[in-house]
Symmetry: C2
Subunit: 255 residues, 2 copies
């Protein structure tokens, strides 16, 4: 996890040349501005443009124009457009993962943590309307078996899976959850959260209105939580209700 740079780290104007991405050598040093926020500015601009457009169709020259920077800097910092997109996922992922780490440390029940986690994923995709599509697009071709998909796996999928495994373990220890395979749980939950945004145009034409409104999002968070919390809680699907272990409200959360 130490390889996921936080936003603060990225802005650290004191970091040495050796700590910069390896691609940095590709263009002449003289072309690089003194402004060490340029990298972040490019990411911010790409993020804002894609958020405004609810889509990935943004060109390097647009990013350059809106950031007031030279598009050659994209090459300097990220290699190419895909490199910039991967870096953006990496930065967004770092923020979201930090939220989950914080959540795991809270002194609340694992069930409540699950509720906040589900709301966090759905609201995260809502705040960054390009993020789930960007990840799909970076993962969504055979060539993606190579570097971009591996990077997404390393900076987002694997660490989130590990954090969810900790949450599941806290729930099992507290007697609130039954054991499930964390990898399967990850796919199930992330798919459920992400599909609200994949399906939004179809939903719009069916339920009408402005698509994923705040009210729809709140109802969806409540629905997904309800399915998953009950799904995790019960071990006996058969007719007779299984005896449930009493909830230990004061169960010690595992770090």
């Amino acid at each position: 996890m130490s390889r996921v740079p936080s936003r603060a780290e990225a802005k650290d104007s004191n970091r040495s040349r050796a700590q910069r991405p390896r691609r940095a050598g590709r263009i002449a040093r003289a072309a690089v501005p003194d402004d060490f926020n340029a990298r972040d500015k490019l990411l911010d601009t790409a993020s804002r443009l894609m958020s405004d457009r609810h889509g990935l169709n943004v060109s390097l020259s647009e990013i350059a124009e809106h950031s007031g920077l030279n598009s050659a800097l994209v090459k300097y910092y990220f290699g190419n457009k895909e490199g910039l997109m991967v870096a953006l996922v990496e930065r967004d992922a770092a923020v979201e993962l930090q939220r989950v780490r914080h959540l795991l440390d809270l002194d609340i029940s694992p069930s409540e943590k699950l509720r906040l986690h589900i709301a966090g994923i759905i609201n995260g995709f809502y705040r960054r309307p390009y993020l789930n599509r960007l990840m799909h697009s970076l993962l969504d071709h055979r060539e993606a078996e190579t570097s971009s998909a591996r990077t997404i796996a390393r900076v987002f999928v694997r660490p989130l899976m590990e954090l969810q495994a900790q949450l599941l373990e806290q729930g099992v220890k507290a007697g609130e959850f039954k054991p499930v395979e964390p990898v399967l749980f990850y796919v199930n939950l992330l798919g459920a959260c992400d599909h609200l945004f994949n399906a939004r145009y179809a939903l719009q034409s069916i339920v009408g209105g402005a698509g994923v409104t705040d009210a729809v999002r709140e109802r969806y968070i409540a629905h997904v939580y309800d399915i998953f919390i009950n799904g995790l809680r019960n071990s006996m699907p058969a007719a007779a209700p299984a005896p449930k272990p009493a909830r230990r409200a004061t169960a010690k959360a595992r770090r």
Copy 2:
């Protein structure tokens, strides 16, 4: 639903010119072969090429070459490549919807129907490794608010949602499920099923091996069913188990 042509209908060599798609007028009638299976052959070829490649990157000239037909026929039957892709989703959707209709009529419990339905969706995406990505790609841009997204909504999303609403209602009547909003349930379940295939490259680099193997798929079906059946079954997430109405094994299925 009557607007979803079955495969048999598409092959019906007796159908009149008036029943053909409106686009048919665009090229000279003389260019159309007597082989009324040409339309299906183009769809079959596109489906096979995309299945083989696990991707959407197939050109009209490749489809023409592999089908032994002239690529101008794509224009004749479908207008353009997107039209062909929409027609393919439409044909695949018709097959899958027919399976769900058949399932709803079976004399088995709603819980068992849900299990078969979940396996059906996941296995359907597995058999057509391009289908979920094709739907994402057709739905996944703002312009998609126009015709393609509306067609996908009409031929797949809405009818499947309606069939699931019937399944949910059967479950509630039989005392097996609690009531939930069908639209939210649709998004939750479809997202869960579809994400196994979206996430496969990331999974591959994490769990290793050949990606979505038969064993992984079986375990995933069991996991999703377990979460959803328990999620649907219990209305009281709190400590005390809620009294459940007895299961009526002979509950009349609603059409």
